[in-house]
């Protein structure tokens, strides 16, 4: 016997199955701001980012590439404008490109074994993924013209879609940057393990 005494248009259809009942519950997860779950992050202004970046470049010019790498990884831009985040990403990539392939693993191991080192490599991994996401999109590195929004980082735009966009002209430099990022990715995974990749995915602090 049916509990429904009188059938109506609404009860016979299956529209009710698509009702988002979470919206109707006052304290459900869709009805509160999930950012309140975490302590707020310190904001980094554009000026600060520029200052860090010029210091890092100075170290790089002085030949201290390990210091430069540490410098930019210890001050990640978690909370800042898009332009600040982008310019920091470019600095990181610049540092990465300047380091010889044979120096990568020893340098990563030295960083990993210092206090705070594992955290630094987690940050590096975040920048590698961000770098792969942005170099494979149409605008090559060095352009801060296109304002990036987080919505543009769709699964199609990870490093592996690059093959599809090969016939473009701007791709020589993109391909170069990508191969640098990929070889760093391999080396970082060797040193910091798969846990490092997992942390990039779970972490709520995005670079």
């Amino acid at each position: 016997m049916s509990i429904i005494q009188q059938h109506s248009e609404a009860s016979l259809g299956d529209g009710w199955r698509r009702i988002d009942i979470d919206r109707l519950i006052e304290d459900s997860s869709v009805n509160f701001d999930t950012s309140t779950l975490h302590p707020p992050l310190p904001e980094t202004s554009d000026a600060e980012v520029l200052q860090i970046n010029s210091q890092v470049r100075q170290l790089l010019r002085g030949g201290d590439s390990e210091g430069a790498l540490r410098g930019c990884l210890e001050m990640p831009v978690y909370n800042g404008s898009d332009s600040a985040k982008d310019s920091h990403l470019h600095t990181v990539i610049e540092v990465l490109q300047s380091i010889k392939a044979s120096d990568m693993t020893p340098m990563l191991q030295r960083i990993y074994n210092t206090p705070g080192g594992p955290e630094c490599l987690d940050v590096l991994m975040k920048y590698l993924y961000k770098g792969m996401a942005s170099t494979s999109s149409s605008s090559p590195e060095g352009s801060n013209s296109a304002p990036r929004t987080p919505t543009r980082v769709t699964p199609q735009q990870t490093g592996f879609s690059q093959v599809g966009s090969r016939p473009g002209q701007a791709n020589e430099s993109t391909g170069g940057a990508m191969s640098v990022l990929l070889s760093w990715h391999e080396k970082v995974t060797d040193v910091a393990g798969l846990g490092c990749i997992g942390r990039v995915m779970t972490d709520w602090r995005r670079v």
């Binding site: 997860s29 999930t34 975490h38 594992p118 955290e119 910091a192 393990g193 846990g195 779970t202 709520w204």
Partner: protein, 365 residues
């Protein structure tokens, strides 16, 4: 170290397992039923099946003294199974939740149990004599997401819970008339129901898989999806904790952890093997795996010398030289639960693990 005792029960994931106090009965959650195995010689034989849930059973726990079994399921119900000469009799518990029940554990006093759920509440259940019924009280605030795990303090009043909102919390689950007033501890003195004694998260904020009080109850540890374990040493009520120590590992995330004394934690998870952590309030480190190299099933021990004929045969048949379809660990898939099996005064001497591969393994620490 003696070799671990491996029981391959079936080819199906084990959501949770529990041994009775005499270790002769083993309850495992399989699909919508709970299977009871009893020890016959060196093996476990299926003895009974507890059928009462109509969705996946997520957790099972046997009370050591009374022998009562509590189970909970995605069908939003919990059942208490009372042992009787005619078999186990189920009693439904009024959980009042409208999402799946995810985790259940008896309190050490065995007068209460806590059920975690996807409804952002923990139902603390106790027996009401006058109604002859298990009823529940809800721990609600400030939980913002599914409760994945709970763990009782030795005093049966405090309850630690881990959640997918990335927080591990310590609550008071004090029920008037059931519990005696607890002794004051680092967690607080006056502890009415739903007092939040602590709320912790680690830096990268992975959702929490497992949480456990240390044997003294003065520290709490949790494992999160960012492949870390975090140990919290509180200093007193309404004060920041003395120390919060996070160990980020290179491994895959841990699903379950237990304390072995105050200075050792054993954790296991997606890497299919158990790992040992050592430390105190000054710091913790990963100290190694519990999987002894010789105990690994190489099917005859290590790499056998292959004949050239055999090698080419393998290459022809399988396109590769070595048969590497087996993991080098005893568990062949994720370990979902580890529990103390045998305890001595100073800690755990044996513990048991169960996982997605349908094995229950008893390990020496």
């Amino acid at each position: 170290m003696a070799a671990p005792e491996v029981h391959h029960l079936f080819h199906h994931p084990i959501a949770d397992h529990s041994f009775s106090a005499d270790r002769k009965t083993l309850a495992v959650a399989r699909d919508t039923t709970v299977e009871l195995y009893s020890r016959v010689g060196n093996a476990f034989k299926l003895k009974d099946e507890l059928k009462g849930h109509d969705k996946t059973v997520t957790s099972v726990d046997i009370a050591p003294n009374s022998g009562r079994i509590v189970t909970c399921s995605q069908d939003r119900n919990a059942l208490v199974w009372e042992p009787s000469p005619q078999g186990y009799k189920p009693t439904l518990v009024l959980l009042r939740i409208n999402r799946a029940a995810t985790f259940v554990r008896w309190s050490p006093s065995e007068t209460k149990f806590a059920v975690g759920s996807g409804d952002r509440v923990i139902a603390v259940c106790y027996f009401e004599e006058e109604n002859d019924w298990w009823v529940s009280k809800h721990l609600k605030k400030p939980i913002r997401s599914t409760i994945t795990t709970v763990s009782w303090h030795p005093n049966s009043v405090l309850l630690a819970a881990g959640s997918t909102d990335a927080h591990a919390r310590v609550f008071s689950a004090f029920i008037k008339g059931v519990d005696a007033r607890p002794d004051p501890s680092v967690w607080g003195e006056r502890l009415p129901f739903n007092t939040v004694c602590g709320e912790y998260m680690n830096n990268s904020a992975g959702w929490v898989h497992s949480v456990a009080f240390s044997p003294s109850g003065d520290a709490v540890a949790f494992a999160a999806h960012d492949s870390s374990i975090t140990v919290v040493y509180p200093s007193g009520p309404d004060q920041p904790p003395k120390a919060i120590i996070s160990v980020n590992t290179q491994l895959l995330p841990f699903m379950s952890l237990i304390w072995n004394g105050e200075a050792e934690i054993i954790a296991a998870g997606y890497d299919c093997e158990a790992f040992r952590f050592k430390g105190d309030s000054n710091g913790w480190q990963l100290s190694g795996t519990l999987e002894a190299a010789k105990s690994r099933p190489g099917l005859g021990g290590g790499d056998r010398e292959e004949s050239a004929l055999n090698m080419f045969k393998q290459m022809d048949l399988k396109g590769k030289v070595k048969d590497d379809t087996q993991l080098k660990t005893i568990h062949q898939n994720t370990i979902s639960t580890i529990r103390p099996y045998e305890e001595s005064g100073s800690g755990v001497t044996k513990f048991s693990s169960s996982g997605v591969d349908g094995r229950v393994v008893i390990w020496h620490t």
